[in-house]
């Protein structure tokens, strides 16, 4: 059954087996304001937790998006590359940024659940 985790960098992951779907939270999206551009990671990229692999640009500034756990990017939300509203319309749903294969599931233990993340942003 899919389980959702959150990071201190305001990213979420929904984990199903060893595949995670990753995006940024509503809160992060609100903070960024109007989006201009999303630079998606390359499919096949292997990276470690906290490596920056994507960029979300608002009109004003760029925000790095990090690997929440070690793994390999298996799929990206391609339409978002041309149309950032795919992200901003539903950042925690259809606005997912990439999917990845998790190489070390034990790293999930260090992440927050929904309640802990709510407490963080309150």
């Amino acid at each position: 059954m899919a389980q959702r985790y959150f990071t201190e960098d305001h990213e979420w992951l929904e984990v199903d087996g060893d595949i995670a779907t990753v995006g940024i939270t509503e809160h992060a999206c609100e903070q960024l304001g109007d989006l201009a551009f999303v630079e998606l990671p390359e499919v096949g990229t292997s990276a470690s937790k906290d490596d920056d692999v994507a960029v979300v640009e608002s009109i004003k500034a760029a925000s790095d998006i990090y690997m929440p756990v070690d793994g390999e990017v298996t799929e990206v939300n391609a339409p978002m590359g041309d149309d950032p509203t795919v992200l901003s319309d539903a950042p925690e749903g259809a606005g997912w940024i990439w999917r990845m294969k998790i190489s070390d599931p034990s790293q999930l233990d260090g992440l927050m659940d929904a309640d802990a993340y709510q407490a963080l942003i309150s």
Partner: protein
């Protein structure tokens, strides 16, 4: 700098009441955006009218028998010939011709001028101006009052419903003082028609309420101010202008009279006019959608590094990235360049400024 150290303008409560997102800028707490958002505020300015709190900027009056001689010492501007009721764009320069600040200088009386300088520079500017004033019979007075900018094709329509209606007769770059303590110029930093209005701190909140009562007037913050001015090809001090360059290096020679000398920094400017400036400011249209931010390195077609981006954003009007770059004068005529963006090489086209056509009042 903690929030407690930030100064507040007279509109601070007004911004909070409208749910502005406040940030520290030039030592003041100012709105970066309101709930409408950067894109909506930007578009409101281009389509109708936007209202900005720019009270952080410095307002200085220069009065006295030597006002013209003094200003002609510290500015390259021809102040003697500046007509009553007009203002001009100019610069404070250091001895090497480097830009200390850019500013507007308005002549309200034969021997009274009003200057508006950048908020982040106003303390240093005043120190410089006071030191230079010692040799002249002038007095300098900081005007402690609010400053707002009403910008857009319907700005005049909104202003005409207020007690400052007479200011709607101003032409571009004209100035008037319609009421005691008030000054209005037909100018701005957006490329649109509009007004910059100086008024008493006690009056500004009510005046802004009056303007925003029109459904077509939107409060707008620093975020939209930056994307608007960039589309208009206007320089921002601290990014496109700094003490390391002269106005000619920023392709602003139109604001430096050819027939003047004797001002601080004149030697360098005269020498550059005789030979060549070191740099030029160019407009870039990057390929793709990724914005190019300040610091992106610029290369020519042969791979030589020729400059860097000084300002860049994603243009809401063009739906495309735009950037200003400082490049070596010798390389500045190329039709295209390459930018280095996060390790990748991305091409761009050079384009004439402004990116978006200006619509000043005739």
């Amino acid at each position: 700098m903690s929030d407690q150290d930030l100064r507040k303008t007279a509109l601070n409560d007004w911004h909070r009441a409208r749910d502005a997102k406040l940030v520290g800028f030039a030592g003041y707490e100012l709105p970066v955006t309101y709930p409408l958002g950067l894109r909506g505020e930007h578009k409101a300015c281009r389509k109708a009218a936007a209202l900005f709190d720019v009270s952080h900027m410095g307002q200085v009056s220069v009065t006295g028998p030597d006002a013209v001689a003094y200003l002609e010492r510290i500015l390259p501007l021809n102040c003697a010939d500046l007509a009553l009721g007009t203002q001009a764009y100019s610069f404070l320069l250091n001895a090497e011709g480097g830009v200390m600040d850019d500013l507007m200088c308005a002549r309200l009386e034969d021997t009274r001028f009003e200057l508006v300088v950048n908020g982040a520079c106003k303390v240093a500017d005043m120190a410089h101006m006071r030191a230079q004033a010692e040799d002249f019979d002038v007095s300098l007075e900081v005007r402690e009052r609010a400053l707002i900018a009403l910008q857009g094709p319907r700005a005049a329509e909104a202003l005409a419903t207020t007690e400052l209606k007479v200011a709607t007769e101003l032409k571009f770059m004209q100035v008037c003082e319609p009421l005691p303590g008030y000054a209005v110029s037909r100018s701005g930093y957006t490329g649109e028609d509009g007004f910059e209005i100086a008024l008493p701190n006690e009056a500004v909140a009510a005046f802004c309420d009056q303007l925003c009562a029109h459904e077509f007037v939107e409060p707008a913050g620093l975020g939209a101010r930056d994307s608007l001015r960039l589309e208009a090809g206007l320089c921002l001090y601290g990014q496109d202008l700094d003490t390391g360059i002269t106005p000619l290096d920023a392709s602003l020679g139109w604001a430096v009279p050819k027939d003047r000398s004797g001002y601080i920094g004149a030697e360098k400017l005269i020498q550059q006019r005789a030979s060549s400036p070191d740099y030029a400011l160019v407009g870039l249209l990057p390929e793709g959608r990724a914005p190019w931010r300040a610091g992106v390195k610029i290369f020519d077609a042969d791979g030589n590094e020729v400059g860097h981006v000084t300002s860049g954003t994603f243009s809401p009007t063009l739906e495309h990235p735009i950037a200003l770059a400082r490049v070596k004068k010798s390389a500045a005529k190329a039709d295209s360049f390459i930018g280095e963006l996060r390790g990748k090489q991305v091409p761009c086209q050079r384009t004439k400024l402004p990116f978006v056509k200006k619509s000043y009042a005739k």
